[in-house]
Symmetry: C2
Subunit: 245 residues, 2 copies
């Protein structure tokens, strides 16, 4: 039996998704809770390895519970054990051919910018990047150069071995956030290289501040050199919104 | 010289506004920062003593800087020293007759409810009460009984000496919050007794859940007995929105 989970988390105090030796991670918290339910260690597989400080509203994970653990209401059982910073949104039984990571077709991230000069809303400090006033029209025009099938190695940070750096970005658009001072970039792609969404956000902010012209995105792509591209945007603005299968 | 500050804070990790012996408080953080700027201790006076875990977007405070500290850009100076959980929104010089607490005419609080059955948005867990589905129309009808000049001692928790428990509630209304699953109660009054806003929120939720009828608010007021009124709502949903002078 295989269970698919959809989960949300406030990533502020976690060292990302993936289990580390000492630091608390989302995967570790889930596996700890699963072990208490199943009385043994169960490996859990996530769709994406979110970085430290990155949030999720629609992360997906799967695990294979032991045969004796059938009929467990996984959402309630896990939520009653997990810290309130992690919530199971829903779960369903899937076939053994489903894999949270390898079956994923499209991932959808959001990146939230606080676009006023002063940041006066400390309740949102862990969820937005205070980027200041931005020319969103220019950013949209720049983003259009990134949509499509491209080699995104200029937008990949080092740290994972990836042979194929070509990804298909389906769309990038900008919307008003829940708070009036926030603008949210939504980006959907068939996959993301290491910190690709944050690197795209960082480059587009340089356009939004008038420091790069929109058409320079083409050049950055063509250079295939991370060191020539603008800096990575902070983790706290990023949220894994959904994974499509 | 007297300076008036408007400030915002995420109250989650603080033990309220007022200085305590050991625990960190907002007033303490402000006085610590002021002392670093002025090289001496300066007392700061707040408009309202928010409880532990209560937030603010428009708390007001005043202090008298030493004569040698003129021309200081207080917003930038304080924000550069304060933790990011506290932000000075603006400041202005006022006359010596201004007092943040005693000159206040009206205070405006908001209380945020998460009104869906399941709470699946951990990023908002410190800022809303997960009250579940609520009949907002019934709550509004109940709130109407509280508007006006009344003795609110049924809605006052013990802990401060208050001779006069009569307050004038100017209005209570309900609006959609920034997030679609949130409903926000706004309440304006000439003053609030200890935990009065949270006690009103707690009582109205009982109406929203169908456990009290709207007209029973009249009875609760008339009883003048806290022990007969519903429980206090959690601190995290409450926010001091503004103080009017």
């Amino acid at each position: 039996m295989r269970i698919k989970l959809v989960l949300a988390y406030d990533g502020t105090t976690y060292h990302g998704w993936q289990i580390q030796k000492k630091e608390p991670t989302i995967q570790q918290m889930l596996e700890d809770s699963l072990a208490r339910i199943c009385n043994r260690h169960i490996r859990i597989h996530g769709a994406g390895r979110t970085d430290a400080g990155v949030h999720a509203l629609g992360q997906v994970a799967h695990f294979d519970p032991p045969p004796e653990n059938t009929g467990i209401p996984w959402q309630q059982a896990l939520n009653s054990l997990l810290a309130s910073s992690i919530r199971i949104v829903r779960y369903q039984q899937v076939t053994g051919s489903f894999h949270a990571r390898f079956s994923a077709r499209v991932k959808h991230y959001s990146y939230s910018f606080w676009t006023e000069k002063f940041f006066v809303y400390p309740q949102r400090r862990n969820f937005v990047w205070h980027a200041g006033p931005l020319n969103i029209e220019a950013m949209s025009a720049a983003a259009d150069h990134l949509v499509g099938r491209h080699d995104f190695c200029s937008f990949m940070n080092k740290g994972t071995e990836t042979r194929d750096t070509v990804r298909h970005v389906w769309n990038i658009n900008f919307r008003q956030g829940c708070f009036p001072q926030e603008t949210v970039m939504h980006i959907r792609a068939d996959g993301f290289l290491k910190q690709m969404a944050r690197n795209i956000a960082g480059a587009l902010v340089q356009v939004g501040r008038g420091k790069l012209r929109p058409q320079e995105m083409e050049k950055i792509l063509q250079h295939r050199d991370r060191s020539l591209a603008p800096a990575t945007a902070p983790a706290r603005g990023l949220c894994l919104e959904a994974v499509e299968y």
